[in-house]
């Protein structure tokens, strides 16, 4: 029996049509738009001004608090302006706009392909390099990595878990990096183990990527402390809580963090970024992005500079198809619909997905037939049909008692519902209100 998480989950068709396309370097454009809010927490504070010359990899914004991150220029050129610019949801965020001129990199960045295996940095040096390189979690939440690798006092990690599940349909960027740069990722994992002070590391990859599993396992002898585990294909395996359950069989307590279960989870893309930061002195200013869709002319994986406008990414696969109805940043289960096609990519952008009307338009709602499928697929063991009703009636106390705050918003309930009820839409609203109430309560 292959390992997987115990409760719920769904099996959407995986549509990994871009899996066979090797990573290509996306051409550097004339202008990039680098957002100051690319991470969870406070926006970064620009340290450059209009007219300043910047190089690739140069620090252009520093963290503005404990929960914040550094931001580096992804291009060389001149700062055209620092102004509010609409992100993919249409919200204005402070953005450094840079006019590109050549491709001059900061000195000290190792641009060779040589794999640097020897780890010379100490634990403190690794953490400092990660913080100084502006690394954030690339699995989606963009949590500053150096904070995640520094457990709060009194908490201790037993395991580092690397997330290579890539359980969202269509996405293949993690697949490609595991296939093309397996050893670099393993070194990144080893660096994080050192930073955390753990001796055990499990690397979970879903079974639909056998070539990536084989690529990682060929280094088994050199990295014996890292065990690559083949996981059964099931969504949402890449959810932190689900991955911890699948790999080490521990359950994160309600309202708790992975560290409460003795685990720290990092995405495989983050591991690669850590390798590049510590071993190659390269800050996080580019990443691998899948641009795909059944209706696009091509489906490709690009190494892309942060701040590239989404419409330029679409142009590279043949432009926006006539049949396109929805543009999604990320996967089809948890990705965000793009409201502004001129918005720019950020550090954690993993995919740009184009869906047609037939694929994405919701069908007409019908009556709940009480089939219980939403309960069956909920990976948190909740009752979405009930939460939906309670949320619509704004019954906050009942919602809290029924544990709406545990919802991870994976969308399994809405995906499954044969009556096409907007379960998660309503639950999300109820959850936000309950969490607000919980936060306002004095702590015990």
């Amino acid at each position: 029996m292959k390992k997987t998480f115990a409760l719920g989950g769904v099996h959407p068709h995986d549509h990994k049509i871009s899996a066979g396309s090797a990573i290509e370097t996306f051409p550097v454009l004339d202008r990039v738009y680098i957002s100051m809010s690319q991470h969870l927490g406070a926006p970064a504070e620009p340290i450059v001004a209009k007219g300043d010359r910047v190089k690739v990899g140069q620090l252009i914004a520093k963290p503005s608090g404990f929960m914040s991150a550094c931001i580096h220029s992804s291009v060389s050129g001149t700062v055209a302006s620092i102004e509010p610019y609409a992100d993919l949801a249409g919200n204005l965020v402070k953005t450094i706009i840079i006019d590109v001129d050549g491709d001059e990199w900061e000195e000290g960045i190792d641009r060779t392909d040589t794999v640097v295996r020897e780890i010379t940095a100490t634990k403190e040096e690794i953490l400092k390099r990660i913080a100084d390189s502006g690394i954030v979690g690339l699995g989606g939440a963009s949590f500053p990595t150096h904070i995640k690798l520094t457990p709060p006092p009194g908490k201790k990690a037993d395991y580092l878990l690397i997330n290579g599940a890539e359980c969202e349909p269509y996405l293949t960027s993690d697949h490609r990096i595991m296939l093309e740069m397996p050893e670099q990722i393993l070194i990144g994992a080893r660096l994080m183990m050192k930073a955390l002070g753990v001796t055990r590391c499990l690397f979970g990859v879903e079974e639909n990527k056998p070539d990536a599993i084989a690529a990682l396992r060929q280094f088994k002898a050199s990295y014996p402390e890292i065990e690559v585990v083949s996981l059964k294909k099931k969504y949402p395996q890449g959810g932190e809580k689900q991955l911890i359950d699948a790999l080490i069989g521990r359950r994160v307590p309600a309202m708790g963090l992975p560290i409460d279960a003795g685990a720290v989870v990092q995405n495989c893309g983050t591991a690669l970024a850590v390798y590049e930061a510590v071993q190659k002195n390269k800050p996080l200013f580019e990443g691998v992005v899948t641009v795909t869709g059944d209706c696009t002319e091509q489906q490709r994986n690009f190494r892309l500079r942060v701040g590239t406008p989404l419409d330029k990414m679409l142009d590279a696969v043949g432009g926006l198809p006539d049949k396109a109805m929805k543009l999604i940043s990320g996967g089809p289960m948890m990705g965000k619909a793009v409201a502004n096609i001129k918005a720019a990519s950020v550090k954690s952008t993993s995919a740009l997905l184009v869906l047609t009307e037939e694929q994405t338009l919701r069908k007409l709602q019908t009556q709940c037939i009480r089939c219980g499928k939403c309960v069956q697929v909920c990976p948190m063991g909740l009752e979405p049909y009930l939460l939906n009703k309670l949320a619509k009636a704004s019954r906050m106390e009942d919602l809290e008692r029924e544990r709406v705050q545990d919802c991870i918003e994976c969308g399994c309930c809405l995906y499954t519902c044969p009556a096409q009820l907007p379960l998660l839409d309503n639950i999300r609203v109820g959850k936000a209100q309950v969490i607000k109430i919980l936060r306002s309560r004095p702590k015990k």
């Binding site: 359950r251 289960m333 037939i369 009480r370 089939c371 948190m380 063991g381 009752e383 809405l414």
Partner: protein, 334 residues
Amino acid sequence: MRKLLVSPAPHIHSPENTRRIMIDVLIALAPSLLVSIYFFGFSAIQLVLVGAVTCVGVEYLIQKYLLKTEVTIQDMSAAVTGVLLALNLPPSSPWWLMLLGSIVAIGVAKMTFGGLGQNIFNPALVGRVFLLISFPVLMTDWNIPDSWFRAGVDASTGATPLALIKEGLAQGHTVDQIMALYPDLSYFQMLFIKVGGSVGEVSALALLLGLVYLLVRRVIRPHIPVTILLTIAVFSGIFWLIDPTQYTDPLFNILTGGVLLGSIFMATDYVTSPMTARGMVIYGVGIGLITMLIRMFGSYPEGISFAILIMNSVVPLINKYIKPARFAKEVKNG
């Protein structure tokens, strides 16, 4: 200007919908339907047609003219009710009996509660029990109508195996003596062709085939049928071990009296069964126990219809108090 849609995740949906599920149930019923058409000929076709058409028609009329709401007959749920009710009647039932049962099933048991998803009791079973109480003679008339398919095949017995046993025991015979009197009561016969009984329970094998289809298509989960059958097997097994002359064995109890039809197709009705796996187990055990209590100590030879209806009434309570296994085993404070 091009327009794109912006809406919250998830952005894709499974191909599942209510209509597709109902069609799956009809497909799962097809083997049993074919077997009964083979054995009962025109009367089986007639019952199924009258049932389906009446149920759909009544739902249409009530939605269109009485409630003045959107008509939802295309979801096929009324058709499923009609077919299920037909399969639950004796093959010799007249068409008007079927018509009456269908009107009660949809008009009373389903639409008065608000239609699909709102009813407390399984509509087809309400229809059947209504007929059983109102027309006890017709509803236990197990004469086998002629069928042009099996002309020449001798249908030797009409009474149901459970009724034969109950009657025999009342006359002071032992189970073995009764079995010896009726060679048709062999397991082989019951598995493939059991002529005495309602339209849908001719062949246990055909019903099991339907179960496999429903499980493979993930229309139902195994919890309810498995717990019902296990409970009946354990309960009857205990009595059988104590006194095999007075009690029939577990296999006999499972293969007779609509237990398979009831546990596979009637007890698993979404609307009237629990939402959680734990709830389904409690519900299944309850149905199994009540069925056996009625069979052994009640005046009816058969009890699963009543057992399911009784447990239907407990479902709202089960849903309220039986919670699914939550992911988090503990709650972190502060």
